[in-house]
Symmetry: C2
Subunit: 489 residues, 2 copies
Amino acid sequence: MKVIEELKKRSGELTDLHHIMALLQWDQEVMMPSSGAAERADQMATLSGITHRKEVDPALGELLEKAAENPAASTIDRALVRVMRRSYDQNTKLPEEFVEALTRLTSEALHVWIGARKEADFGRFRPYLEKIVEMSRQQADYLGYAHEPYDSLLDLYEEGLTAIRVQEMFAGLKGPLSDLVKTAMDKGPELVIDRDLDQTLQVRFAEMVLKKIGYDFSRGRQDVSTHPFSTTLGHHDRRVTNRYSPRSIEFIFSAMHEGGHGMYEQGIAAALGHSALDCGVSLGIHESQSRLWENIIGRGLPFWRHFYPELQQLFPEHLAGLSVEDFVRAVNVVKPGPIRVEADEVTYNLHVMIRFELERALMEGAMTVAELPEAWNAMYRKYLGVTVDSDANGVLQDIHWAHGSFGYFPTYTIGNLAAAQIWNTFTRQVPDHEAIIEAGNLAAVRKWLRENIYRHGSVYPPEELIVKVTGEPLSPHYFVEYLRARQGC
Amino acid sequence: MKVIEELKKRSGELTDLHHIMALLQWDQEVMMPSSGAAERADQMATLSGITHRKEVDPALGELLEKAAENPAASTIDRALVRVMRRSYDQNTKLPEEFVEALTRLTSEALHVWIGARKEADFGRFRPYLEKIVEMSRQQADYLGYAHEPYDSLLDLYEEGLTAIRVQEMFAGLKGPLSDLVKTAMDKGPELVIDRDLDQTLQVRFAEMVLKKIGYDFSRGRQDVSTHPFSTTLGHHDRRVTNRYSPRSIEFIFSAMHEGGHGMYEQGIAAALGHSALDCGVSLGIHESQSRLWENIIGRGLPFWRHFYPELQQLFPEHLAGLSVEDFVRAVNVVKPGPIRVEADEVTYNLHVMIRFELERALMEGAMTVAELPEAWNAMYRKYLGVTVDSDANGVLQDIHWAHGSFGYFPTYTIGNLAAAQIWNTFTRQVPDHEAIIEAGNLAAVRKWLRENIYRHGSVYPPEELIVKVTGEPLSPHYFVEYLRARQGC
């Protein structure tokens, strides 16, 4: 068999195994009866053991060597070799004992972190975090890097990303965001839902919106879970979940967010199916596609000029007196606070920036874990003007470090920047976009995104994809411009 | 590691893989979006390939040899060796090319059968069935048998079952059933539902019944599927499905039937979890547990004295004028017809008997496939007094032969006989059973079944289990006695 054919066969088999794992996880979150957890963990361990042995098979390494000697003919084949090489390296560069030790450590740390956060007791979590930082630096050494250790961790989540590159983009963000926080703060009226929203009606509205923006229910489904997520179980099976609170309209933005992830994956070209290319290329690009729908479109006036009458009709007791303009202002209120996941679009990136700077200092050895809480609180005062009242609402708030996921946070902001830059290109190419959206023709937007982003799957590395679509590398400029326009500054 | 420990480890891993496969199937039937089918088939093929290689691993064979030399100490360990030996033999005795050829043949045959049944054209299916019969006889030779080829196929579905044994039991059934058909026929009024039953209310009633009979929703769930089924995804995850028609109360009996399967598996002792013993021991015993709830309890007057008022209250427009006695008579009407799956409790076993005699003749070579339709129709006339109007309603009605499942049908009747015999023991040990059921104390019945049947999982071979519970081997006597009482003859 030709090298590339053999690689495709192996990629197909691994794709099957990853999708089976995704089903085990989806079912666990969405369907599994409460008592099933322990045995489900066994099943996952069994399956991931089998998958891992296939992923680190030396014969796969040899095939990838051969593929490098005889460069593949087509763009797609070359991309497949690139993506498989990347996974193979990530899977084989770390010694197995190291991976096992890290898994054990983070699994213990997770439990300790939950308790520590509950008690607002950083001291309890500190020895674990110290070990995790130490092992993450070791991990960076195993993986290798050109410039600084943190680079190799950033690259795990966003192919090709470096600390210098993040620093560069954040430098262009920091000042404008701080200004925006001051000018935009507390401008609009907040939305107060003072009686329960019927859940059946919430689900109906969310499904209607998903259908209208182009999420394909014949190739997916929407269910309820504790935390909304999207997942892929097959080329034609990309599911989303949502959650519904009686006193919040978050479910709408959550539907758009997960729907954005789902549509990205649903839009991947059929030719890439059953292979490692059949998924979004990176966390940052994925997040750009969810936030573009959730925020740029979903918090815009044109979108709500179309959908607000329907929402008002479903919930007349809650929204009868509120104009569409006031509604849109309310869902765009800027208000600094201590918690990242509750942050608005403007302040969110300041939360990320703080984590980036702290992670980088930890990875460089320029800061110790012991110094972390104080540094955290100082930065929140400086960047957001927020006083952190307790470590539970401060340095202990995120699960990422307990997981050992250093390098993950910046992808959130990469997503925001990419969304705005892609949107800018779209609006230049489709000047009547506001009228199109106001008419409810969201399919036109999805079509453009499909043509320019979705269909490529993982064929182009993230930064290359951005240049291909927008004509230039990722820049903070368009995001700042977008926020200023949205906030009317 | 000790031999038995190593076997347990392997059995645990195989159990995980089988449960993962069960999830892939459950999701396909219940949740998967319509477009996901093709890739799901790939995923199943990948997983079953991996599982199969583990199942036929020569090292497993060697472990089983060693285990035979040093008989395991405990009953459970000995049972585990017995069940694993059985699977290993079934998996290794057939050459791989043979299995592949049979899979290809039956997968083609399935498609042809669907078309042939639609067109009532046996001629189209005939060449495929001829090959399937030929390969099934070959299969019997590979598997080995003491007396006649059909025995080895019967044993596939019901451990230890032989044609002679089935013949013996059926001989005691045939006469009494024929008499019953004549005396019981067309006695009661049929139940006519002449306006739609609300589906939400159907689901609510089915769930209420399931809860009351003791199906544990914290270790299972009930969903909707095209054909009702039950499945196991883990020791604490035994799910059932149901279907709802607007003009039928079948959903109640279907809930009891699948609930019976589910409760059997939910009741298996925790000590047997994560091993090959953690499932019902055979198709026949499984069917006895579903039919005991569906028919013996679920079509009985004491049960309905408790539940009928609630059913009537939910559907007053449909049932207001109907007394509980007439309702029970209506759900026990005997009416011979050409279709097995629509048959009542009495005639059902005559349908099975016909298939048994035909299968046996085919396997012995005493009959050709060409002679089958005529033989079929003649037997329907003789045993059931039914004239088959078309092969679609005759020899082409069942999927089993297209699947290559010769030897499966008798397990349905084994289930009926076992249910009645077990029930007889129960009623002798619990004389006030009618009052208990009428009071809605179904938990007491489940507790008895759990203690005597459920908890043993696959520890005792089916016939041994029957003797252990009832004190004698399986006999047609109790079933005939039960039917006569039910039909008031």
